[in-house]
């Protein structure tokens, strides 16, 4: 059954000549949710987003939105809107005209489109800057203009291509809060491409991890982080040790590993390095088979029994915290 605002990818493939950028991916995006497409550069996440937006043709497969096949429609007729990585604001137009651009293209007369643009300006809190040119705005303000310009088309799905990558770290955290709030207010789907797992965890209701042109794992943020299915996902999400044990390959969260005295733990290990990180201490150690295991120890606990590089220690974990990896 297809619901309204329901976006689905069916066997979507993108090839550039003989290279495959996206290989037969299948996914149904939750309606009215915030989804992050996460992966390293070149994994196909941007190509996927651009195919949904209509800026890249689909080689095979189809894209369905609200039950209709949009794979071959021009971008503006899809019910999607895109916010570009560097915002792509028109440098020769004022903020107001940038936002009203799509209405102008539709032939809406000046008065009406300025009223609509005014509403959008209010939504992103930029009314005071309506007559400025994009050059005269800060990065965060430019981003809000880009957001307003995309939203004025009343899209069912908003596509964001690495929207926070051009901002400084402080602003990035503030803007991601605003994005999330806006998504909740508008109740439409946001699909956000990023290579930062912290960004994805902070924002997403659902995370889709991509690697090498395929989806490695998709699911609610907490499930993806806590129960990675593959070695790639465990390593890319961070905060996990990937270890080979006699009965298979497992992922275990670094904060689920506890440090004990030598010979007292499940495994014995040698401390390689110790890093003080404020609230906790990160202890890197070697276990047999030349494998590295990191343990995160709360700061106070660590300093009651400190260890130096070269020390022999024991490591312990609950078997239920081990997640078997398929690949």
């Amino acid at each position: 059954m297809t619901l309204k605002h329901d976006l689905e990818l069916v066997d979507v493939t993108k090839r550039y000549g003989s290279t495959v950028a996206v290989e037969a991916i299948q996914h149904r995006f939750q309606p009215s949710s915030y989804t992050c497409l996460l992966g390293p550069s070149g994994c196909g996440k941007s190509s996927t987003l651009r195919m949904i937006a209509g800026h890249e043709s689909v080689t095979e497969g189809s894209i369905l939105l609200s039950g209709r096949d949009i794979s071959n429609l021009p971008p503006a007729q899809r019910g999607t809107a895109m916010m570009f990585q560097n915002y792509a604001l028109f440098p020769h137009l004022s903020v107001r005209d940038n936002i009203a651009f799509s209405l102008k293209m539709k032939g809406v007369d000046v008065k009406e489109r300025y009223i609509k643009a005014g509403e959008m300006l209010e939504l992103v809190d930029l009314t005071a800057l309506a007559d400025r040119l994009p050059d005269q705005l800060s990065g965060g303000q430019q981003q809000r203009v880009a957001l307003a310009r995309a939203l004025i088309t009343r899209p069912e799905v908003l596509l964001l291509d690495e929207p926070l990558s051009a901002l400084d770290p402080f602003l990035r955290i503030r803007m991601r809060g605003e994005l999330k709030k806006l998504q909740k207010e508008l109740g439409i789907s946001f699909i956000h491409v990023t290579h930062g797992q912290d960004e994805a965890l902070a924002l997403a209701d659902e995370i889709v991890v991509m690697n090498d042109a395929v989806i490695e794992q998709a699911g609610p943020a907490r499930d993806v982080f806590n129960a990675p299915k593959t070695r790639f996902v465990a390593q890319f999400m961070g905060g996990h040790n990937v270890i080979s044990l006699p009965n298979g390959c497992f992922a275990i969260r670094t904060d689920a590993v506890t440090v004990t005295a030598h010979k007292k733990g499940t495994l014995s290990a040698q401390v390689m390095a110790v890093e003080y990180q404020g609230t906790h201490v990160s202890l890197m150690s070697h276990i047999s088979g030349d494998q590295e295991v990191t343990a995160i120890v709360p700061e106070a606990e660590y300093f009651t029994t400190p260890h130096q590089p070269g020390d022999q220690i024991g490591l312990h974990w609950d078997a239920k915290n081990l997640h078997p990896l398929t690949a």
Binding site: H55, P75, A81, A88, F90, H92, F101, A150, T153
Partner: protein
């Protein structure tokens, strides 16, 4: 001496002096000289240093002057219109339809190859083509398009403008291409995302962003055409005149004061024209 060199003002002046000297000797002095000579008195057999307005009075009193200035503007305007249309189209094709940078550079260089020969040779090569018994006429006759040779192909305003367009289109292509290459391609995607069709993107995004390049090309073409005399002489068969020819005729008759006065008026006209053009578009970003 040492103390003098330590003075920041002195070193500053010394550093700008080479450029200032070059400009003074090759720009300011010649123009000053022309201005001075334009006030001298000339008779059939002598030139007398003086300060009188006779040359200007004669220039502005003669109806020929107005016809010739009108002609100069006519050539400049028509040539500008054609070079703009052709130049914009070529630049647009190179910048937006050719995808790979290698091909863009290759085709761009291809455009410049004709400029390896001299202007005059390229101009004269039109003569056997356009002449009464030239290639154009004989081909059209053999096709049966015309019964007898067309007279206006050569030694006419048509020939003059054709040669101008041929000579100067590249001066329009280069700055427009340069500006277009700086347009962020994602702006076009953004326009498409907002529902703009090809014509709307051209009109609402590409043309406004290309304006500085168009303006620089316009300045090149207008100044080149307004200052030209050789093209008009060759291609019109000495049947049309522009201001450049007026000056060259005066010089041939050793009427230097009169030539100077005409040159000064032309210079002022061109500067005013450019001044007006620059009111419309800010080209500082491009420089």
């Amino acid at each position: 001496m040492k103390k003098l060199l330590e003075n920041r003002n002195v070193t500053g002046w010394l550093m700008v002096s080479p450029l200032a000297a070059v400009l003074l000797v090759f720009l300011v002095m010649p123009i000053a000289l022309i201005v001075i000579v334009s006030f001298w008195r000339a008779t059939e057999f002598s030139i007398i240093p003086a300060f009188e307005w006779d040359n200007y009075a004669f220039l502005f009193g003669s109806p020929v002057t107005y016809t010739v200035f009108f002609n100069t503007f006519k050539y400049a305007f028509i040539t500008w219109a054609f070079t703009l249309i052709i130049g914009f189209t070529v630049a647009y094709y190179l910048a937006f339809h050719i995808r790979s940078l290698t091909w863009q550079v290759a085709l761009f260089l291809l455009c410049t190859i004709p400029f390896w020969t001299s202007n005059i040779i390229r101009m004269i090569s039109w003569i056997p083509f356009l002449g009464r018994n030239g290639i154009a006429n004989s081909t059209m006759m053999s096709w049966g398009v015309i019964d007898e040779p067309v007279e206006w192909l050569l030694f006419s305003d048509f020939a003059v403008i054709l040669a101008f367009v041929h000579l100067y289109t590249l001066f329009m292509v280069v700055p427009i291409f340069n500006t277009m290459m700086r347009i962020d391609k994602s702006l076009i995607e953004a326009a498409r995302d907002a529902g703009a069709n090809g014509a709307q993107i051209l009109w609402n995004v590409i043309i406004p962003l290309t304006k500085p390049g168009i303006m620089i090309g316009t300045i090149f073409v207008v100044t080149l055409v307004m200052g030209d005399f050789i093209t008009v002489r060759f291609m019109s068969g000495s049947q049309s005149a522009n201001v450049g020819r007026l000056i060259s005729n005066d010089i041939a008759l050793l009427q230097y004061p009169s030539a100077s006065a005409t040159a000064i008026v032309l210079l002022a006209t061109v500067l005013i024209t450019i001044g007006i053009l620059l009111r419309f578009v800010d080209i500082r970003k491009e420089l």
